[in-house]
């Protein structure tokens, strides 16, 4: 299909004078777009539907009625259990990630309302070491699931992750077991859990809490998988089919319930929660 891809690529006029604060280039169709227009459209390209990364604040604004009303476990911080050094020591990497993302770890958890329904809410931050799950991410997700169970709240988690945090070695692997165990207890308590997969959701996060929602929703075009495409390509030594591991591919293969574009995400989520959660929370 190489000819097809080539043909689709459009020539972008050289417009060096464009102010990047006002304009941006779409990663989907390479069109030069007016930033305000994109923002107005929930950070979705009005030309091709490409979903720009919106991060923790973006999803909080998109989905919660009044933002986070409670933020939980913000005081949890990563340590360096293995004394891990790659190109730089892990503690330095953590500091840089916190500065870059503006968040202390790769997930923010708490409570808020969605269309008037009180929920336990978590959103991952891909800007923080690729949204990787180490001990803190695992612990915060587990505590969030436990909080939902204790307070009888539905759980909503927005995932974005490259997988396990290698710098914490097997301890990060164990977070898959920890989060899955906490979700198992939530299921036993008959509380709803909606998992929203954003770009990308791969590795140990996909292979634990992210795929365990009662309902699993993906944004359009999102990369979802266990192994990364490059690892697969190296293993099987052949080119991967067009659209492989994209949300549409997963829907077709029965791995997600719905693909929902950002402008419809909140209303869809609210409808699902009303179906599953009405009567969950005794306090309303």
């Amino acid at each position: 299909m190489a000819w097809f891809r080539k043909e689709r690529k459009k020539l972008v006029p050289q417009r060096r004078e464009l102010n990047p604060e006002l304009w941006l280039k779409c990663d989907g169709c390479a069109e030069i777009l007016y930033r305000a227009k994109v923002r107005e459209n929930h950070n979705v390209c009005p030309k091709c539907g490409f979903h720009f990364r919106i991060g923790v604040d973006g999803y909080t604004a998109l989905l919660l009625d009044h933002g986070f009303e409670v933020v939980t476990d913000a005081c949890l911080g990563s340590v360096d259990p293995l004394g891990f050094v790659d190109s730089k020591p892990y503690p330095e990497r953590l500091e840089a990630a916190a500065r870059r993302s503006g968040h202390p770890e790769a997930v923010v958890t708490g409570e808020g309302h969605i269309d008037g329904i009180r929920v336990a809410f978590g959103v991952m931050d891909f800007e923080f070491i690729g949204g990787s799950m180490g001990s803190v991410v695992g612990e915060k997700i587990a505590r969030l699931a436990e909080r939902a169970r204790e307070r009888r709240l539905p759980l909503v988690i927005v995932s974005a992750s490259g997988g396990a945090r290698m710098m914490e070695g097997v301890l990060s692997l164990m977070q898959m077991a920890k989060t899955a165990a906490a979700i198992a207890r939530l299921h036993q308590a008959r509380l709803p859990y909606v998992s929203i997969l954003t770009n990308p959701t791969t590795g140990g996060v996909t292979a634990s809490f992210a795929m365990l929602g009662d309902v699993v929703i993906a944004e359009p075009g999102v990369l979802i998988g266990f192994a990364g495409p490059r690892v697969i390509e190296q293993t099987i030594k052949q080119e991967l089919p067009e659209g492989f591991q994209r949300a549409e591919f997963l829907l077709e293969h029965g791995m997600v319930d719905l693909i929902v574009a950002r402008p419809q995400m909140k209303t869809t989520l609210a409808r699902l929660l009303h179906h599953m959660a009405d009567g969950c929370d005794p306090s309303g």
Partner: protein, 324 residues
């Protein structure tokens, strides 16, 4: 027994083995009495083997964990268990030969035993896919574990895989979902689970059948979030043997490391020179340890068993908590 495939650090051991073999042939061929010399060399060999294996570096342990003569799941099942009846298929798509399992007896008690199965040659590996399971393998394992739960029989899982298979079909059929589902169910499975890392514990593909009340690990086995090769190439951006060795050390993937991190409950000692030197000794160690842990677990009421299992995994990890 002369090693057919000596590892790099076993070279001097293999050389000594060859010397002994030559002396034996010489003695037999010419009718000489060289028993004193042979005895001396054998003593030296034993000492060398013990010394070498006492101080294995992490990357050397990885090599032993992957040793092609190391006992595999079916080797342990054949020797440590009786009356094994293999059960096949996930009832959804196919039977995955990279995972084997079925009813068996361990010291008289019925158990469900299952694990990843590697192959020793090209033909076997074509069938077993090098012990790398597809989703069907995990779903077969799940079916067998639920079967065990139905009759309140304990589950024993043997872990030996480079990882879940990274391929097109595996992704199409939801390898991530299959592993996640196993973790979800194993966390609340109403029967005791004992897992033994017998060789290679490769990431989520290993964990997918290793959430257990007790996790035991052979002395020279490995268990890691990523292979040392993968870590070296992704994080160190190098693929040299030195980088791989450094990655193996950084990842803390050996049994003593994992015991210290609280991931492994007991280390199983291997015979001198590694489990591949003496299958019977390794088998006996596994049988005794598994029986001991099953005895302990079988006395726990189910509620207590599940609470303990939950608490065990809830504790795992390392973090700080500073009250604001």
């Amino acid at each position: 027994m002369v090693s057919a495939q000596p590892l790099e650090f076993e070279r001097s051991i293999a050389e000594l083995e060859r010397q002994i073999e030559r002396l034996r042939q010489l003695a037999a061929g010419r009718g000489l009495d060289l028993s004193a010399e042979i005895r001396d060399l054998e003593k030296k060999l034993e000492g060398l083997r013990e010394e070498t294996y006492r101080e294995l570096t992490p990357i050397e342990r990885v090599q032993v964990a992957r040793h092609p003569q190391r006992p595999y799941t079916l080797d342990y099942i054949a020797r440590a268990f009786q009356d094994f009846i293999e059960l096949h298929g996930d009832r959804g798509f196919r039977d995955d030969p990279a995972v084997v399992g079925g009813w068996a007896r361990l010291d008289g008690r019925t158990v469900m035993v299952l694990g990843q199965q590697k192959g020793r040659n090209i033909k076997e590996n074509l069938l077993r896919n090098f012990g790398m399971a597809h989703p069907e393998g995990y779903r077969k394992a799940l079916r067998l574990m639920r079967l065990a739960e139905k009759f309140r029989r304990p589950v024993i899982t043997l872990i030996d895989t480079p990882g879940a298979y990274p391929g097109i079909g595996a992704e199409e059929r939801g390898i991530a979902e299959a592993i996640a589902r196993n973790l979800l169910v194993m966390a609340i499975l109403e029967t005791p689970i004992v897992s033994v890392i017998i060789g290679e514990g490769g990431s989520g593909g290993a964990l997918g059948i290793a959430l257990a009340d007790r996790v035991l690990m052979f002395e020279n086995a490995m268990y890691s979030v990523i292979s040392p090769e993968g870590c070296a190439s992704i994080l160190f951006r190098e693929t040299t043997p030195e980088a791989t060795a450094r990655a193996a050390a950084s990842l803390k993937l050996t049994a003593p490391d994992l015991h210290e991190l609280g991931v492994v409950d007991e280390i199983l000692a291997e015979p001198p020179g590694g489990a591949h030197r003496d299958w019977d000794a390794a088998t006996q160690t596994l049988r005794e340890a598994a029986a001991h842990h099953l005895d302990e677990l079988s006395h726990m009421p189910i509620d207590e068993l599940l609470e303990t299992r939950y608490a065990k995994y809830r504790r795992m990890g390392s973090w700080t908590e500073v009250e604001a």
